[in-house]
Symmetry: C2
Subunit: 310 residues, 2 copies
C-alpha cells in the first residue's frame, strides 16, 4: 500500500432547475482535497481539517468523509485504518455539495489505497451514507455527479438507478455563492408535500426537454427547458435578490439560471467561457448592490469525477 | 390543382406511461384515410364517412377533419372549398388518437392540394383545433406525432414547443383495443388536481430516463423508466383486467406496457417484431379469458408521419 494519497473531489450543482432531486452535475472548481495515510491502529481518524472555520466535526462517527470511508471498509471487510487530512476549499452550507465533495474524495481515495476493488458506481452507496450523516437523507444528486463526473440522472432510489447523461458540447458554469446561510433542512421543509398536476406536467415536460437538449447539444432547447415551476418559486424566497440575479444572468447571455441545490448559491449555464465569466461578474454585482458579498467560480462541467493529486 | 388526393394518417399512442400530456408516438397501423377533392362552392363539405358506424358528425362545423381544414384555409386566406371522403380504419374512442388521425390526414391533404405553403410543424395548430372540437381541449400529444411521425415531446403549450425525440433503434408496438368504452372526458375527470411531490419526483426521474434511453437506444433503461406512478394507478381502474394484461405483456418480453392515451387501449413496446407479436397475442388472450373481445395491431414506430396514397 502507498504511504499516502491526495484526492480532489469537486463541487456539484444538484436539481439543475427542473430536475429537483433527480439531476446534478459536477464542476471543475471549487472542491475539496483529502489526504489519506494508512495507519496501524485499525481505525479511521481525522487528524486535521482546514478551511472549515472549525465548523466540521472531527469525530469519525460524525464527519461525512470518515463515515463514508468506514462504510466502505466495512463492506470490503477490511480492518485497515486511515488517517484523514481534509482541506475544505469550498464553502459549507452553500448548496454546492460541500459534504458530498468530502464524502466522495474520502471514499474514492480509500478505494484507490485498497487497490480499487470497487468501481466508481459501486462506491456511490458509501458516499450516500456520508450524505445521510450530513443532512439526514442519503440523497445522491450531489455524490453521484461528484463521483462519476458530468451530468447525472438519479432515475430512481428504489432500486438506485444512476444514469450518466452524455453532453457532447461544452457547457460553462457560473457559480455565485452569496454570504448568507440556508440550512438544507429548512430549504426542504418549506417545500409543499403536494403539487398541482398542471405544474408537475410542466416540470416533466421541461426535464424531458432538458435531457433531450443536453444529449443533442441543442442549447436553445436547453435554455427553453431550464424552468422550474415547482421548487424555485418557493425556495427563491430564502435568497434575497434571487430574481434580480437571475434576470442579470439571462440578460447577459446565460442559457439558464437557477438555485444550486438547496441554495443559497445560484448557478448559470452558458455556451462559452467568455459569457460564463461575464454572467458571473454581473451576478456578483447584483448581490453587491444589495450589500451581499459573494464568491464567484467559473468553470466547465467536470466530466472526469475525482482527481488524484499525488 | 390536382383533381383529388388520398392521404393516410396513423394512430398514435399518447402519454407513453410516465409522459402524461407531454409524450406521444405514431404507429404504422391502424389509421385513417381521407380523400379530398376541390369543389367550386368555396366551402368544405363532408360527402362521405365510412367505418365509423354512423357515429361521427357530418356537419363541417363539428367534424374534426373539416374543422382543421377550415382553420387552415382561413389562415392561408384561401377561399378554396374541398369535398371530404373519410374512411375510418380505426376504432373511435379507443385511446388510439382517432380524432387526431382524421384531423392530421385532413390538414396534411389540404396543404398538399394548396401547393404546400406550410411545413408540417406549421400545420400543427390547425390539427390541434380539430382536437379542441373532438374533446374540448386543443391537446397536441396525438396530433403532433401523427403529423411529424416518430416520438414527439410537447415540452410546453405556452408557447407551443414540440420536440422530435430521435429513436435510433427500431421499436415495435403491440396495441390491443378491448371492446369497452371510456370517454376521454371521464378519464380526465377522475384524475386528481394535486399529486404528491414524491410521486411527481419519481415521474420526472422516469421521463428523463425514458428520453435518455430512447435517444441512446438503451432499451434496458427504456424498460426501467416505463413506469407511471401518477395516472395509471387511477385510470387503470376503468379498464377491467388491466393489471393482468400488463403482467402478460411484461412476462412475455415487452420492454414496457401502459394505457394508450386515456384508454381503454393498452400498448406495449418490444425490441423485436416477434416479441411484439407474441405480446399482442398474450394481451388478447387475457382479455378473452375475461370475455372481452379485442382488436390487436402490431407495427413499428411510424417515423414518417402521414402518407400520400394517391
Amino acid at each position: 500500500m502507498k504511504d499516502s494519497i491526495k484526492v480532489f473531489a469537486s463541487a456539484t450543482v444538484a436539481n439543475v432547475t427542473c430536475g429537483f432531486d433527480v439531476l446534478g452535475f459536477a464542476v471543475s472548481n471549487p472542491g475539496d482535497e483529502i489526504v489519506l495515510k494508512p495507519n496501524t491502529v485499525g481505525k479511521t481518524r481525522i487528524l486535521e481539517i482546514v478551511g472549515d472555520g472549525g465548523k466540521l466535526p472531527t469525530d469519525p462517527a460524525q464527519n461525512t468523509a470518515s463515515v463514508s470511508i468506514n462504510k466502505y471498509l466495512e463492506h470490503i471487510e477490511s480492518g485497515q485504518g486511515f488517517d484523514i487530512y481534509l482541506e475544505k476549499k469550498m464553502p459549507l452550507g452553500s448548496g454546492l455539495g460541500s459534504s458530498a465533495a468530502s464524502s466522495v474524495a474520502g471514499v474514492f481515495a480509500a478505494n484507490l489505497m485498497m487497490g480499487s476493488p470497487l468501481s466508481s458506481l459501486e462506491l456511490l452507496s458509501f458516499a450516500m451514507e456520508g450524505e445521510r450523516q450530513a443532512c439526514g437523507s442519503a440523497h445522491a444528486d450531489n455524490v453521484a455527479p461528484a463521483l462519476l463526473g458530468g451530468m447525472v440522472l438519479i432515475r430512481s432510489y428504489d432500486p438506485l438507478d444512476v444514469i450518466p447523461i452524455p453532453v457532447p458540447k461544452p457547457l460553462y458554469v457560473s457559480l455565485v455563492h452569496p454570504q448568507i446561510s440556508i440550512a438544507t433542512k429548512d430549504a426542504r421543509e418549506i417545500l409543499k408535500k403536494q403539487v398541482l398536476m398542471k405544474d408537475a406536467v410542466k416540470q416533466w415536460g421541461n426535464i424531458a426537454g432538458l435531457v433531450a437538449g443536453l444529449m443533442q447539444g441543442d442549447f436553445s432547447l436547453v435554455s427553453r427547458s431550464m424552468q422550474d415551476v415547482i421548487v424555485e418559486p418557493i425556495r427563491s424566497i430564502l435568497i434575497p435578490g434571487f430574481d434580480l440575479v437571475k434576470a442579470a444572468a439571462l440578460t447577459n447571455g446565460a442559457l439558464g439560471c437557477g438555485i444550486s441545490g438547496s441554495g443559497p448559491s445560484i448557478f448559470s449555464l452558458s455556451a462559452d467561457m467568455q459569457t460564463a465569466e461575464k454572467v458571473g461578474e454581473k451576478m456578483f454585482e447584483v448581490f453587491k448592490d444589495l450589500d451581499i458579498m459573494s464568491e464567484v467560480y467559473i468553470s466547465g462541467i467536470n466530466a472526469d469525477g475525482p482527481k488524484v493529486l499525488g
